[in-house]
Symmetry: C2
Subunit: 471 residues, 2 copies
Amino acid sequence: MNAPHPPPELEPDRVVRELSSSRIRELRAIVPGDRLVLDKDGRARYGGDESPLEPVPPAAVVLARDARDVAAILAFADRERIPVTPRGAGTGKVGGAVPVYGGIVLSVERMDRLLDIDPGSRLARAEPGLVTGRLRDAAEAQGLYYPPDPNSLDTCSIGGNVATNAAGPCSMKYGATRVHVLGLDVVLAGGERLTLGRLTTKSSTGYDLTSLLVGSEGTLAVVVAVTVRLSVLPEARRTLFVPFSSVSGAVDTLVALYRAGIEPAAAEFFDRQALDAMSRVVTIPSGAEAALLFECHGSRASLEETLERMAGVMGNRALEVGVARDGAALRRLWDARKEVSVLVKERYRWRRTEDIAVPPARLPAIADFLAGLRARTGLDIVTYGHAGDGNLHVNFLYQEASRHDDVEQAVSALFRRTLELGGTLSGEHGIGATKRRFLALEQAPALVAAQKRLKKALDPHGIMNPGKIFP
Amino acid sequence: MNAPHPPPELEPDRVVRELSSSRIRELRAIVPGDRLVLDKDGRARYGGDESPLEPVPPAAVVLARDARDVAAILAFADRERIPVTPRGAGTGKVGGAVPVYGGIVLSVERMDRLLDIDPGSRLARAEPGLVTGRLRDAAEAQGLYYPPDPNSLDTCSIGGNVATNAAGPCSMKYGATRVHVLGLDVVLAGGERLTLGRLTTKSSTGYDLTSLLVGSEGTLAVVVAVTVRLSVLPEARRTLFVPFSSVSGAVDTLVALYRAGIEPAAAEFFDRQALDAMSRVVTIPSGAEAALLFECHGSRASLEETLERMAGVMGNRALEVGVARDGAALRRLWDARKEVSVLVKERYRWRRTEDIAVPPARLPAIADFLAGLRARTGLDIVTYGHAGDGNLHVNFLYQEASRHDDVEQAVSALFRRTLELGGTLSGEHGIGATKRRFLALEQAPALVAAQKRLKKALDPHGIMNPGKIFP
């Protein structure tokens, strides 16, 4: 299970654990019936997410039906200074949806309609609660493509993806959520509704508040509709599994591919510990210290040519080049991939997963650092992630609770090394409640102060998701 | 020549036409020698840009050498409440670099170094004055690619591109400047220096101030360094010229190409008036009402396949499909393209060019509107642009000054129709000084107010490029 996380530091006088009966009456008038959840079990269900943070039941849960509900709740909460934690599907990894200050959880799970899809202009509009996989399916039904592919594609919602700027393997080629979002309908803390952005792929009209809102983790506004552009659906996909005798061999190969004009859609990375798990299902050549799992997109004919050229470029660098030429081979690769998840999720009593990113050329330096950490601490550390973006998920795995402190120190050392190498604390999960105590390692006080000034300009009373991102 | 533009509306008490001798002494101490320009001719050279706005000589010009100069000038100007207009190469189309409030023009033209290029991580860092074409060349020397391709590639600077979120034909495939900028070193109005963004392609750490700054037209901060990611350089390019019997035929063809999984790098649009000019150089089939000039990127082998598939998709829709198979054919196409520029720039006494964007499916509606406007007003209107992004440059051409007012009304009608169709006032040029009186047509008062609050959070005294974007 997730290693326990130290409780968030709070300003006690801003915590709202309970609402008075008069405030509850007001809430009932705004959101009658089952849109207001007050019973203990119901509130408990909205206290946690997929982060290691201890769940915190809010004082009330609102299941908004539409933008009017959202606006009325935010106007009320702003007037009464009640913290509001927006919530999508609750699949976040950093506690962004955990209402650490209590108050109201504002769930948009019922706002889950696909509002519009326009193949001629390659646009789709959706309510924030729409599951991302359904948006992808709707695009594919029109012969188009919504590229962001977080692991939680079938459970996460587009609103949550906007909140964290979610990404995934194919962000290597297509970019994270932000580049696909053209516009947002949002509600500010006081209940004011704004339509941000536009329906066009290009615009140079005013400040790009859309991009500012994407990745702001519910601390600036509540999103009530998302407009995304759709991409061209690749005609075909090919998967290659390529083991290397070193991490630097893998990274050098990526660079050689770029220089040959080849851009895979994804280049997933596995370290030796992950490969050990995969070897239960597929043959891993001896001496393999790392592997890349490529996905390539294109037309059927061009992909055959691409694979040939990739094999040519990788020839001397790789231990072997395995192209999954049929469904069975592909399934075996994904089964092997699943073994890594099992290893990380089931074989140990405790785990702690961190999400960092470095410039890709520095992946070998991170690998060296982790090898040293492994040797020094005796902890099992399994790393995989998205090599093309230098984004690694580092898993610290152990059996004894007595090692919690060692892991905390190891994580802290990992962050420091990541930042020394020009990296960032989060590649795709966000900062939320779990990483905010580390933010000052990456961002100068002046930068944090500037962000807080911007937040105050949109949320003067600080009701929007307090306790997140900023220390 | 450019039609005259009404002078910008100003708040008179904020205008600074002259600096006192004590302030000039202070400036001299901060930027000694030829970094400070005070003579009349020198100041006049920094009063205008490529917009139709009447040049306005500033009270002083500073040619900053480095970030320290920028910080010292901004600290001084903020304390003294002197307007500062940042300036790159002065190639802007909307008066963004025209110091309408006087004060100081802060030019970064001498800050033009390429700071770093890292092929392993596909990164480049540059000072803001670097000419964009030089950045592109430096990337290509490493086998990589910096995609944004404004027309002014060989004269505009990367800092100006950041200010306007500049784009170009190939933004259809690769996106405008914003998606390529990973980080910015900036100086705020008070002289405070911030490093925004990161060196990684993905990050979910804090607010994306980088994206907020891109497109903010110098109203939030001065950029002193730009970090961009580099893309994979296409091995080969092919150009196709395809005339259609209607605008909707061209747009339908684009959609059909997308649905066939084909994504051209560029799809440049020309209306019949533009084709008439091109017909001096290339044969335009009779009945052609529009044409698309495609550029396709890929490997040599895959491009041949792509062209075949495009010809298949376009077969019945196009009047003909002309692939430029050799250098001579390609040159002829570009010569024909140049005829359009000559038409627009030389054959008429007056011209007014506007830059709008609509969702691509609505291009036929804009074409219908322009046909009606042409019939109603008798004005010559020539339109070309970037069909894939729905971004059109509409040129109103005329000989008599007596028609200025008619043109002003026609432009206003064009903007209204653009917005009715879900479009935006600017696809790639920005709002600057020339379009700010139209901003309220597109943006609700609450949205303008929110942007002004954000500006105030970063520039409390309003010294940064006043008179731009917001009415």
